[in-house]
């Protein structure tokens, strides 16, 4: 399954699940990345990390290591 970390800039997707059940997973979900949420990748920081996403009408920046834990639904890669 594709994760948010593999998304291209400008592409949209829908969250399928967040891996793990530790407090980092909880925090990612608290930020609004719960299954079913639409995500648009809007940018990458000049040094390549973190990523900037548009979710729920606001912008969230997420490190690649965190983005790798958020899997996307298969049919929604663009």
């Amino acid at each position: 399954m594709k994760t948010i970390a593999e998304m291209q800039i400008g592409h949209r997707g829908r969250v399928a699940q967040v891996d793990g059940n530790d407090s980092l997973a909880a925090r990612i979900m608290e930020m609004g990345l719960v299954p079913g949420t639409e995500v648009e990748m809007i940018g990458v920081a000049p040094l390549g990390d973190p990523l900037e996403l548009l979710i729920r009408g606001y912008r969230l920046s997420l490190r690649r290591s965190e983005a790798k834990r958020v899997a996307l639904e298969d049919d929604s890669s663009n």
């Binding site: 407090s23 997973a25 909880a26 925090r27 608290e30 930020m31 000049p46 990390d49 548009l54 009408g57």
Partner: protein
């Protein structure tokens, strides 16, 4: 609990909200100069209390640390939860909770509101930044929102002091009326497990002198959701034998029931938020590109973002380095004159030495840094208020994450090259306690400007003025570079070391 006729003498209001929602602006607008800033005993969490009067009633306004969630995973968050639940002896239980939300980002902000409502206290919602929302083409039906939530909703504009009188009025009304807590957003299976755990706690807990009689439902929920194990050592948990085993089996049952912990919380709450906002918030379709969006595009651009950032840092660095020299020399001169004046009027002895070298010299040694501190704080205030600080943290995060810190540590560390004192003081913008302490501990390892003369002296004395690398690089200059490099390298390794070997063993995470 208060009824219509018996209002408490002083109404305690807890001010809660996400970071960057204008919470501090509202706090200042409401309490003006009547503020006290201190610390919660036992933890380094800032405690801000303000006072105000309205319609003949005294209000005590407690500003809680800005947070996205009431899931306690650090001392700051634990303080917030304890204050709201009335479990801290140093703050009276709040009579009403004032929740400030950013109208342009309601989904995210209502997550916190959903948790706050479980505290079972009267709650008033302050809808701030409506102007930003309108600019983005978002319309909010405040009356409908109020009805859906079952809470008073007041539209305010904290920076223009609009809507404050109505807000104070609603706070007063909310205390007078009986609060009807809304239904829990959690699925039934989860609520049943919480009920079961509560019963277990009540039947097994050994009585204790200091603990409150009953553990609030919210804390039991948190324990069930807290997979990170932060709450496991709380006194109310350890007092109840077998509780953790119960929690474990409850989690297993919930996974089978399709409500896995901790995902169930975010899913239930965001589900509730969507229901509340459905039809209440309308967006004019496409996200409008505002001027602020365009500026943002430049500031976070791969090339231009870095260029602007470097230029800004050069300006700040230069200002702290050389802009402050005149003022610092002046302060030094004044202190010297004072010392001489006093010294000339006192008899030789211990007392003179104490006053001239101890008091005047000591205080002078501290206030000489004032110009640098003021300059750095001026820049930080401007950058923070115009939102550039968040961009800087975004740009520098990659670099700082190597040391186990976030991008927010960059400016404090950079300014430590000019002087570690303002650098350390400016770490207050870092919300994450662990990151803040690590930054404070490694800031003095950066070579500050006061060390420059020492380096120059030592290098002049011990390093020969030879050229290396075919004559275009001086050995002395190279040594100077080496001195700075060793400091940075020590800082870098130190950051990792401090993290691993000290009390800050907390897990890495983003603030």
């Amino acid at each position: 609990m208060t009824t219509a006729s018996t209002l408490p003498q002083t109404i305690t209001v807890a001010l809660l909200g996400n970071p960057n929602t204008g919470k501090s602006t509202l706090f200042n607008a409401l309490s003006g100069v009547h503020q006290r800033v201190g610390n919660y005993p036992g933890v380094t969490v800032e405690k801000k209390v303000g006072r105000l009067r309205h319609e003949g009633h005294d209000f005590q306004l407690v500003d809680l640390p800005g947070t996205y969630s009431l899931a306690p995973r650090s001392p700051d968050e634990m303080v917030t939860v304890d204050v709201l639940l009335g479990r801290r002896g140093d703050v009276p239980p709040p009579d009403v909770v004032l929740c400030i939300v950013d109208a342009s980002n309601l989904q995210r902000n209502l997550y916190l509101v959903s948790q706050a409502l479980e505290m079972g206290r009267p709650t008033v919602l302050a809808l701030n930044m409506g102007d930003v929302a309108r600019e983005r083409g978002i319309t909010i039906d405040a009356a409908a929102l109020s009805q859906r939530l079952g809470l008073p909703v007041v539209e305010i504009q904290a920076n223009r002091k609009r809507g404050l009188a109505e807000l104070k009025h609603e706070l007063l009304l909310a205390v007078e009326q009986k609060f009807q807590p809304p239904e829990s957003p959690f699925p039934e299976a989860f609520r049943d497990e919480v009920q079961r755990l509560s019963e277990h706690i009540n039947s097994t807990s050994s009585p204790s002198a200091d603990g409150p009689a009953e553990t609030p439902r919210y804390l039991v929920e948190r324990l069930l959701l807290d997979t990170g194990g932060y709450l496991e050592h709380s006194p109310w948990v350890t007092r109840s034998p077998g509780l953790l085993a119960e929690v474990k089996s409850a989690r297993e049952r919930l996974t089978v029931a399709g409500a896995p912990v901790p995902a169930v919380e975010a899913m239930s709450r965001y589900g509730w938020v969507s229901q509340v906002l459905d039809g209440v918030v309308t967006s004019s379709g496409e996200r409008r590109v505002t001027l602020s969006d365009r500026i943002d595009r430049v500031l976070t651009h791969r090339l231009w973002g870095s260029v602007v950032f470097c230029l800004l840092m050069v300006v700040i660095f230069q200002a702290i380095f050389s802009g402050a020299t005149g003022a610092m020399d002046a302060i030094e001169w004044i202190v010297e004159q004072c010392g001489e004046w006093v010294g000339g009027r006192m008899a030789e002895g211990t007392l003179r030495s104490l006053i001239v070298e101890g008091v005047i010299g000591g205080v002078g040694g501290v206030i000489v840094f004032l110009p640098q501190i003021l300059i750095l704080f001026f820049f930080i205030a401007v950058l923070e208020d115009c939102g550039y600080m968040a961009r800087a943290a975004y740009l520098m995060d990659r670099l700082m994450s190597r040391v186990g810190l976030s991008g927010k540590s960059f400016i404090p560390l950079l300014s430590s090259f000019a002087c570690a004192i303002p650098g350390i003081m400016s770490t207050r913008v870092i919300e994450n306690r662990r990151d803040r302490l690590v930054t404070i501990l490694i800031a003095p390892l950066m070579s500050c400007s006061a060390r420059l003369p020492v380096y120059t002296l030592l290098i002049g004395a011990f390093i020969p003025a030879r050229s290396v690398l075919g004559g275009w690089l001086g050995l002395q200059g190279l040594t100077m570079f080496g001195a700075y490099f060793v400091g940075i390298f020590r800082g870098d390794r130190g950051g990792v070391g401090v993290e691993k070997k000290t009390v800050l063993k907390g897990k890495r995470r983003r603030s």
